[in-house]
Symmetry: D2
Subunit: 252 residues, 4 copies
């Protein structure tokens, strides 16, 4: 039987608003995850196998088999962070440290998994007034920004996310957003934790067609490629000490 050598992407969505709010359902009739999946399939082509998982599935769709075979996980959550089981969060955490990429979208800033990886509250300032957001490029030339409009691109109606954003200093700051109402936000940030690469990307409120925006789609597709590990590692971040030989080597 043929082995599937494609990178495996899993888009996780709590999938709540799309079933309860008509205006969200209209924008994302099959769920935010399906809109993102279509965009990734179109942009990434044959080298990637893109699947989805949602909160209401058994084990939230994140079984051991799915996690073991996921190279990059995307995370969208908002209304139901508390309903994500701690045991599943612990497994995702371990997989990120073992090398799985993680892309945290929008309100996922307050998810258990992002808070656990960051070690901070990850809280921020916000306002849902459908205002103009202009995203400035801070790291031109970064692979995650390849093909994106320079020196900025705009979202005509967005939820404001503002500073202070309580995260550790990012490894790389890729985007800073300007909001019409007077705020700024570090809207694209990379972090490495264990062997895993993490990208936080703030646009994405469910009541706006953000995930239909070509620049947003482009950045997510680039981030998937950036976050994918070269090989599925054998690293064990499971919490055990490694005891070295009791006899130190002798210097020649």
């Amino acid at each position: 039987m043929a082995v599937d050598h494609r990178k495996r992407i899993t888009i996780w969505n709590e999938f709540v608003h799309e079933r309860t709010k008509p205006e969200v359902k209209e924008l994302y009739p099959d769920g935010i995850h399906e809109t993102i999946r279509h965009a990734l399939v179109e942009k990434l082509g044959d080298g990637f196998n893109v699947g989805c998982a949602t909160l209401d599935q058994p084990e939230h769709g994140l079984t051991d088999e799915v996690l073991e075979n996921t190279d990059v996980l995307l995370w969208w959550g908002h209304a139901a962070h508390d309903r994500v089981e701690d045991a599943i969060v612990a497994k995702v955490h371990r997989r990120v440290l073992s090398g799985m990429g993680l892309i945290v979208l929008h309100s996922g800033h307050a998810s258990k998994i992002f808070q656990r990886l960051m070690g901070t509250s990850c809280m921020l300032r916000w306002r849902d007034a459908g205002e103009l957001e202009r995203l400035w490029i801070i790291s031109p030339g970064h692979p995650i920004l390849a093909g994106v409009e320079n020196p900025y691109f705009e979202l005509p109606a967005a939820e404001m996310y503002g500073e202070h954003f309580d995260i550790p200093e990012p490894d790389e700051l890729l985007l800073i957003s300007w909001f019409e109402g007077g705020e700024v936000f570090r809207s694209g940030c990379t972090f490495r934790r264990g062997q895993g690469r993490i990208f936080y990307f703030s646009p994405g409120h469910e009541t706006f067609p953000i995930y239909h925006n070509v620049n947003v789609q482009c950045i997510i597709a680039n981030a998937v490629q950036w976050a994918a590990p070269i090989t599925r590692g054998t690293y064990d971040p499971d919490g055990r000490h490694i005891q070295a030989s009791l006899s130190p080597i002798k210097c020649a």
Copy 2:
């Protein structure tokens, strides 16, 4: 009644080995915390009020009153990480994000509080063979290293801690240790999380007189000064979103 304007330091020690192992009791008859306390009092002088807390005290000695009034907390634990209650860890975590400094010593790398702040396993390689450790200065001029021997100082018999050390990239790497047996280790690292400053410093095995070493004492005293907040802040990292006004300001 006079107000005490001194910075308040609390040295937390699990205080287990010193009561169960004769060779440790001999080195630290009143506990590692008392040895460190004496060194800090001597080196820091009148501007600091240095106290201690231990695992076996009610609330591990870290009551709300103690934590609220602590500017810098030192942490030494090894055999009893699991016996530290999660509720206390959560309080310490919140205080660090609110601006309390934290100095994590030696085997405290595997403490709940350090793992929670780092978001990684914090695991490492080790060997207890009493070998030579030479600590090289990587950031000459850093306030934490003021007065320390340049370009390195030595501990004649130490426990080896080796890479890979599973931590986020430190904000500043101050020391790298060379071990006789063939390993290296990032032995002095700074991190900022929320408003709190964190310093991890690896020397300190309980069976060696590490905390009697003048360079080690000097670095801990410097770190206390570096980690102390300018003012006790009013920042709230408690996990609540800050909702901004629904009407964005108008540009003039």
Copy 3:
């Protein structure tokens, strides 16, 4: 004779606009340097000795004796970057690597000394339209921001400096500015180079009373304290290799 143990601060100003443009002279009749000097004397008190130096003095006022005895140098330049002699720049560069703090103000981003320390072009986007600048605090609790209004403060009329700002990733990002016209800017950044601490702080256009603003004065005074070395070091960044002993030490 009594030794002066105070930290020595030198404010360097090209001092051109104040003598050629009436509107600048009105705001800064004795030069921007004198306005800053008065603010520092008032805020820093007796522990600091604050002097000035200007372009038109011999050696631009930065003789060997002045540089050797300066703990923190402030730099304001704009119209005359090219008239600063390379030999003086080389001396300032060496002193920063040896531990002298450096605070680069506003248009000093394009100075020879800042470009040399950063290794990049340090170029940016700008517009002189007297628009509203709102400076958001990104690192609450940082000593340089002690006492500054939280979560932001404003300058009602400022020159816009915007991204992309071509600098290396700062060690710490303290402030991000929002501009009325639609731009953002990393307006407060720290860097360490050699033993020296560097702070870049963007407000300060000569045609606005920026250096009379209490928050701006407060940040500069804090930065002086932050950048001052603990001791005047003996480190030699002068370009010579250090050849170690040809016989490696023997492991015990």
Copy 4:
């Protein structure tokens, strides 16, 4: 005529020792650059076009045409840093800021181009005693380390490079070397400057067969892929300010 879409790699070597010292010529009969070129061709395959340039060629082999068409430049120099012309260094500097990758090898730490990009002296401690170097992996999972022996690999006889190494804090620290004689060194470091990615990799003394080592070859080949820009950019780091429109945009 067919367009060559392959990434273009240029290996620059001063090519002095190989022509003057018999023991070096024996190890690298056609020059260090040719040994590296063969390794890269073997490991990188058809997607890359690997060429060389040397000091004694006109414009040191780095004409405008060569530089414009180079995606990643490797740099080996030691005895003749001063003979590299400043005008060529300025061009290479501009190309790195424009997005060309740069891999600096061994004694290239003291090259004009590396010093200019770092802004520091880049000096270090050294000893040529043919001692054991053990390179520990600090960032497991990093693409530059893909396929390299874990948790360390060794070079049985190497020149010692030791701390303090006077560089800015690296963006990512990938390797720390342990030396038999008692030193440590940050032997693999990444930096981003402008749009360019830079990797410093310390092994490589000309009197040892370092560039015949499979782990060393593997790391250089990985670094070439990591440093290659996605696209050849149009970014201009040339020193001109970008003046934005004098009329700020109006908020809707």
